[in-house]
């Protein structure tokens, strides 16, 4: 996934990876990643939890405005935004 992010960023499009498995992200180091407290297979959390899904997207989208240089890692804050 990190390599795909690199190819997209190379093409001039800002990218944010959602990460549920930090060991791989630490080795691949894509431009930006949001670390999430969920098991593999659940990058936006449990099914049908729309509020959590929106919070994740909001925090990921906020990362595109972070100043470089990358890589930039941010830990998800579940209580930070309204649902």
């Amino acid at each position: 996934m990190g390599l795909i992010a690199g190819a997209i960023e190379e093409r001039g499009i800002r990218t944010v990876c959602l990460s549920t498995f930090e060991p791989i992200m630490e080795r691949v180091r894509p431009p930006r990643w949001l670390s999430l407290p969920f098991p593999m297979g659940f990058p936006l959390g449990l099914p049908h939890e729309a509020g959590t899904q929106r919070r994740i997207l909001r925090q990921a989208l906020r990362m595109v405005e972070a100043p470089g240089p990358g890589p930039v890692r941010v830990a998800f804050e579940p209580e930070r935004d309204p649902s």
Binding site: R11, I13, T15, C17, T20, Q53, L57, A60, L61, R62
Partner: protein, 159 residues
């Protein structure tokens, strides 16, 4: 957050032996419209696709192909043919927004939090252990397709 101890012995051995390729030199796109004016796309490696598309294949080195997914794909209409057993696919098969949050993005567009939802999104399968054709062929092809669609931001959802 998953840890190494969550993996099977086979997958842990693979993790320790596999030479992960870091994104180097790191590309960095600094400028672009803020989220309320941005066109947003999702790229997943959940191996989901429309039932009318060919399935992802279990091949040596990993299937490096991709499928486009239209923005107006209705809930419950995707299938998952990712061949790896290393992750629990019940989430993405129960609610596609777990990996491809198109309905959430649509709501955020209606609420003015993003500018637009891109017309198409992309799905790969993960677990690609021989990534050269991904790097040279299909990842740049998807990047070009997203650029052609005027995409400003991509959220990537590995599983």
């Amino acid at each position: 957050m998953a840890t190494l101890s969550d993996l099977s012995l086979k997958d842990r051995l693979w993790y320790h032996q596999y030479r992960f390729r870091p994104v180097e030199p790191l590309p960095w796109q600094a400028s672009g419209p803020p989220p309320p004016r941005a066109r947003v796309a999702v790229v997943t490696t959940a191996g989901v696709h429309l039932p009318s598309d060919p399935p992802f294949e279990k091949v040596k080195g990993g299937d490096f192909s991709f499928r486009y997914i239209p923005a107006d794909t209705p809930p419950g209409s995707l299938v998952c043919t990712h061949p790896s057993g290393a992750w629990d696919r019940s989430g993405v098969t129960t609610d596609m927004n777990v990996a491809l949050p198109l309905h959430r993005l649509r709501e955020m567009r209606e609420g003015g939090e993003i500018g637009e939802v891109a017309p198409r999104h992309a799905s790969f399968q993960g677990s690609i252990t021989a990534p050269m054709r991904l790097l040279r062929q299909t990842a740049p092809e998807v990047a070009q397709g997203l650029a052609d669609d005027g995409v400003d931001v991509v959220i990537l959802t590995p599983v």
